[in-house]
Amino acid sequence: MAALDEIADPEIPAVSIVELGMIGGIDVEADGLRVELLPTFVGCPALEVIREAVTDRLRAFGRPVEVQTSFATPWTSDRISPAGREKLRRSGFAPPAHIGSVRALPMLGEAPIRCPYCGSSRTSIENVFGPTQCRSILHCADCRQPFEAFKPV
């Protein structure tokens, strides 16, 4: 797991795939290592890059490596660790609110998203959709800075 924590997310390099909660589990078996990789978004184009990075890194242990993509444990933004959330905030991404198992829309009508730069709550969602599938675009009325937020799913 420590080895995988070295692998940064290709689209948000400030956080690792472990901090994002993308590793469902690792089995160490007699015939090699098996990793369960949980895609953040179903169509995430970075997934193949991540899969190759995981395989390459774990090959260093000298055993065969198998990486299986799985939806059996659904990845949700609640899986992002506290350390991952802090790193997101420090790099200008508002971390996602916890959503639990709620089926309702997670971004609207809840506590305002705090600006990652000045901490203000006077922010507005400019676009739920952003430059990648997992990101939204917001604006802070206090420091007048546009910023991005990790989309809660």
């Binding site: 978004f41 169509g43 939806f71 659904p74 400019e126 959709f129």
Partner: protein, 266 residues
């Protein structure tokens, strides 16, 4: 780590008739997402607003990703040596099974919103009809629904905006809803193996029952805006088989790279 049942092993556990029916269901779901993703991606660069350009492009990317995941499951169920790319790109136009609702050129923005209102709510009614009978699909659907609710929010915001946006937007919206409403129920075209799928717990209800749920959802969003619901149509298998010239053009676009070189990948 929990013991994972692979999609292939789960498919091997199904009775042959159920397996065939599951392949048909997966193909219709995947083709719907695939064709709708490609059609809507035609807005990239020319959407009415810059923010909308970002939004519709992101939604299209989601839909193509959903199609890919569904084609991957289909490849495991068919087990005929084709991978998801071969299924997506190496068919002739008449072998695609998307609903006629999605078989139209991009049109203007009102056409896109009308089509997407009908489709997004229909997709949700269909996803809500998937039971645990084929675990890999049930797991994927749980994940898809978390993403699709953003799509519904997006298109319903536009429905409201055009519906309350003054005479010209209203007129265009009404005319687009009327035109696409005729094809809207084709998403619920009956499947040959529907009874088998219900028996196996892969579907929890018939396409007719899903359509009834869809009409109830449409009523709650369209009636408050004073918009007319789509008419009922005779249920016929041709709803997923008769493709238009517009689809021939789209097909030639999305297969262009694949046809340019053998075995080229996404």
């Amino acid at each position: 780590m929990t013991a994972m049942v692979t999609p292939a092993a789960a498919a091997d556990a199904l009775a042959p008739g159920v397996r065939t029916a599951l392949a048909e269901l997966l193909l219709t779901m995947a083709d719907d997402e695939f064709v709708s993703g490609f059609t809507d991606s035609e807005w990239t660069g020319i959407a009415p607003l810059l923010e909308e350009d970002v939004a519709i492009s992101s939604i299209s990317q989601d839909e193509l990703g959903h199609a890919r995941a569904l084609y991957q499951l289909l490849a495991e169920v068919l087990a005929d040596g084709r991978d998801e790319d071969a299924i997506a790109y190496d068919r002739e136009p008449d072998q695609y099974r998307h609903a006629r609702l999605l078989d139209h050129p991009r049109g203007d923005w009102a056409d896109t919103i009308a089509r997407r209102v009908f489709y997004e709510l229909a997709d949700e009614a269909r996803l809500a009809s998937i039971g645990p009978g084929y675990r890999p699909l049930a797991d994927l659907v749980e994940k898809l629904r978390r993403e699709e609710r953003y799509h519904r929010m997006h298109v319903l915001a536009w429905l409201d905006r055009l519906g309350n946006g003054g005479p010209e937007p209203r007129r265009r919206l009404e005319s687009a809803l009327l035109a696409h409403g005729l094809d809207a129920p084709t998403v619920f075209t009956p499947l040959d193996g529907e009874a088998d799928l219900i028996e196996a717990g892969i579907l929890t209800r018939s396409m007719a029952a899903a359509e009834a749920a869809w009409r109830a959802d449409l009523t709650t969003v369209m009636v408050p805006l004073g918009l007319a619901l789509p008419p009922s149509i005779e249920r016929s298998p041709s709803g997923r088989r008769d493709h238009s010239d517009a689809f021939d053009w789209l097909w030639s676009e999305f297969t262009m790279v694949r046809r340019s070189e053998d075995g080229v990948t996404w």
